[in-house]
């Protein structure tokens, strides 16, 4: 076909190279952005209908600008422009009183009273944690922030190792720093467990070498695994029971942001792996496992978190034998953990269901085992699909930590609320200032998680498929 000569000469043939022209103002740069994002929608006057629509767009845009402008100005005015920042004379509440109320501010003044927040700062952030021991909290928080940053910033080396440390050493170190360690477990008992673990590992070794007989050899891996688990646990227990000569701090003396972070981070870190296991369990071929996981998930999703916390702290002790009593915070932590794991499980299950059957078959056909298949093929894809859902659950959990105040644990909000009760700072703006402060802190954390999740989504969608 291509060789057939055509009789006609083409009508249009370029004889010289077409020049590369700069784009029009509506396509590039700031003007391009403004045009596409704002003005393009209100610039069509070619027909009466389009004109009406454009006019509406102009009108709504102006209303929007006006409403946002006044609201944001109002907020800034309250928080910054008209706010009282200092209390140089140390007069406390009088620093934020109007003339009418007996102070020196003009009548009708209504803005934030920051000296109050500054005065209550330590209480809002750490509750009644002993001041002379606060360095321990700072150290734990600083190490946590640094470790998290290390794991999240991609240019840094050894991120995997840093992550591993954050999941193993860091929680233990934080536990010791915050509580003082030195838990009451007899070292002899730990030693017995340790030796028991070593024995299990040795049995596993023997089994691997094929020296236990055909039946037991099959279980060599399980023996070794259980052995390592026991050894790890007893090592952790030994470290936690070691006397580091730190002043013990009862969890009852923790409070404020510290509690919020402890509860939220524990919940977040525990809920993802637990949720994954529950989701896999629910989809398991084995009916017993699937039914158990389904019951677990449906139970915890079916009850409100407040009920869970209330049961854990008020009802549970009634059922425990006398004398057995474990920490109120720990009980709340376990409740939050199980509760959020159930939610996470359903999010993860959604992701698992989005994976094509062919992926399972592809992994099976090359000979991967069930766990390899899940870890290397299915979960990386499934979890990427549901990052928005996972982070949604994290954010929900972070804010739900405020519910622990129902059982007498003072999180950030709870601590803020009890700070408001201080009559020495009693002013009409006392409560609203504290709530603004608490709100800002919550927003910073939640917004941070939200942005990081969007960043992750973009990153992962760039490096793969379509």
């Amino acid at each position: 076909m291509a060789k057939t000569p055509t009789a006609k000469t083409p009508e249009f043939v370029r004889t010289e190279e077409a020049p590369l022209l700069p784009p029009p103002a509506t396509e590039a740069g700031i003007t391009g952005w403004l045009w596409h994002n704002i003005f393009e929608s209100m610039a069509d006057f070619h027909s009466p209908l389009a004109a009406v629509r454009s006019l509406f767009m102009i009108l709504f845009s102006l209303i929007l600008v006006y409403v946002f402008g006044t609201q944001i100005y109002g907020l800034l005015d309250f928080a910054i422009f008209s706010a009282v920042f200092s209390d140089p004379d140390g007069v406390k509440r009088q620093a934020c009183w109007t003339v009418q109320q007996g102070g020196s501010l003009p009548d009708g003044w209504h803005a934030a009273c920051w000296p109050f927040v500054v005065a209550k700062q330590k209480f809002a952030l750490f509750g009644p944690f002993p001041s002379e021991e606060l360095w321990r909290v700072y150290l734990a928080l600083f190490a946590g922030a640094a470790g998290l940053a290390w794991v999240m910033i991609e240019r840094l080396p050894f991120r995997r190792q840093a992550g591993l440390l954050m999941l193993t050493v860091y929680p233990l170190a934080t536990f010791i720093l915050l509580t003082g360690g030195n838990i009451e477990v007899a070292m002899t008992q730990i030693a017995i467990w340790f030796v028991f673990g070593l024995a299990l590992i040795s049995i596993g070794r023997l089994g691997n070498a094929g020296r236990l007989g055909t039946v037991l050899n099959e279980f060599a891996g399980s023996f070794a695994g259980a052995g390592w688990l026991v050894v790890a646990f007893s090592t952790v227990a030994a470290i936690a029971a070691f006397d580091f000569n730190l002043e013990p701090v009862d969890t009852g003396d923790w409070g404020g942001l510290l509690i919020t972070l402890v509860v939220a981070v524990t919940g977040i870190v525990a809920s993802l792996p637990l949720g994954i296991i529950l989701a896999l369990g629910r989809r398991s071929d084995m009916p017993v496992i699937s039914v158990l996981c389904t019951i677990f998930i449906e139970f915890w999703r079916g009850v409100p978190l407040i009920t869970v916390l209330f049961m854990a702290s008020v009802m549970l002790p009634l059922f425990l034998p006398a004398g057995v009593n474990f920490d109120n915070l720990l009980r709340a932590l376990i409740g939050v953990m199980l509760f959020s794991a159930a939610y996470m499980a359903e999010v993860v299950r959604g992701g698992l269901q989005a994976i094509d059957k062919g992926q399972y078959e592809g992994a099976d056909a090359v000979g991967l085992s069930y766990w390899q298949k899940m870890r290397l093929i299915i979960l990386p894809q499934a979890l990427t699909h549901v990052i928005p859902g996972i982070v949604n659950t994290f954010i929900g959990l972070f804010k739900d930590t405020t519910l622990v105040s129902i059982v007498g644990i003072f999180d950030l909000l709870g601590a803020g609320q009890s700070a408001i009760a201080d009559a020495a700072w009693s002013t009409p703006v006392q409560a609203i200032t504290m709530y603004l402060y608490v709100g800002i802190i919550f927003f910073v954390f939640c917004f941070g998680m939200s942005r990081y999740s969007i960043y992750m989504e973009n990153k992962l969608s760039k490096s793969r498929r379509h």
Binding site: D356, G358, Q359, E361, G362, A363, D364, A365, V366, G367, L368, S369, Q372, L376, I377, P380, Q381, T384, S463, R464, R465, H466
Partner: protein
């Protein structure tokens, strides 16, 4: 192909790659495979064809336990296929499979797709696995795509990667489940060429395909299936020229005359 004539002459147990005896399978109450008896020898290249729903895909999927058969015996390389996970794993290590829809892992690069199983299943060092992967990627003629992701490749390229991925496990037998059915016409040839090359190197293979040209060119045996049964089994020459069964004749006339 000339040297394959000896294959049938001497029947030695060691030469048997696959034996299926009285295999039956049901999907619910639907009887998909009905009394399948089949022996495949080393180095044999078998093409299975038949109308859709005749059970040909199910048959080869039973060979590596992507589907479970309910009755009869299947032996692959002397390993009996039963519920023993060890046997299943062992068979899957020796049997490579290529799917209609490629089933590449989209979150891994081409190279990682190819090295994954050797590293995790064969416990091969990463460097060695990459060496082997590059060797097979060169063989399917796409080494330059090694660092791309499957989504960035054309269908034909993806299918060739899928072939390379299976070859990286150095299997004794390759199963092809309609490898060209999901491809654009101009990409079918590149995949078939790869498969012909593989056949010429002496790989044992079972292909479910509608590519009759391929069957003519490389198959030792063509098997025709209908309604879950093997109803005709011949060398390609006589299969295409003198089909005996009416169902085969009808099928061939439909597939060839257009």
């Amino acid at each position: 192909m000339a040297q394959t004539t000896t294959k049938h002459a001497q029947i030695d147990a060691d030469d048997i790659m696959i034996s299926m005896k009285g295999v039956n399978k049901w999907f619910g109450s639907f009887h998909v495979l009905r009394d399948i008896n089949l022996t495949v020898y080393k180095g044999e290249r078998i093409v299975i064809c038949g109308p859709s729903g005749s059970g040909k895909s199910t048959l080869i999927r039973c060979l590596n336990r992507l589907e479970e058969h309910q009755a009869g015996d299947i032996t692959v390389q002397g390993i009996t296929l039963n519920n023993d996970l060890k046997n299943i794993d062992e068979i899957r290590r020796e049997v490579g499979m290529v799917f209609q829809h490629f089933n590449l892992f989209p979150h891994l690069s081409i190279l990682e797709n190819c090295t994954l199983a050797p590293i995790w299943v064969r416990r091969m060092p990463k460097a060695r696995a990459e060496e082997i992967a590059m060797h097979y990627l060169e063989r399917v003629k796409i080494p330059e795509q090694a660092l791309k992701y499957p989504g960035q490749l054309s269908g034909g390229q993806q299918q060739r990667v899928a072939i390379a991925r299976a070859l990286c496990m150095e299997p004794k037998l390759m199963l092809f489940d309609e490898p060209t059915s999901a491809l654009d016409p101009e990409m079918i040839k590149e995949v078939l060429d790869t498969m012909v090359g593989l056949a010429e190197d002496g790989m044992s293979m079972i292909c479910v395909t509608h590519e009759m040209g391929f069957a003519r060119k490389v198959a030792n045996r063509v098997i025709f299936m209908d309604e879950g049964q093997i109803i005709e089994q011949k060398d390609p020459e006589s299969f295409f020229n003198n089909p005996e069964n009416d169902r085969t004749k009808l099928f061939l006339s439909q597939i060839l005359d257009h």
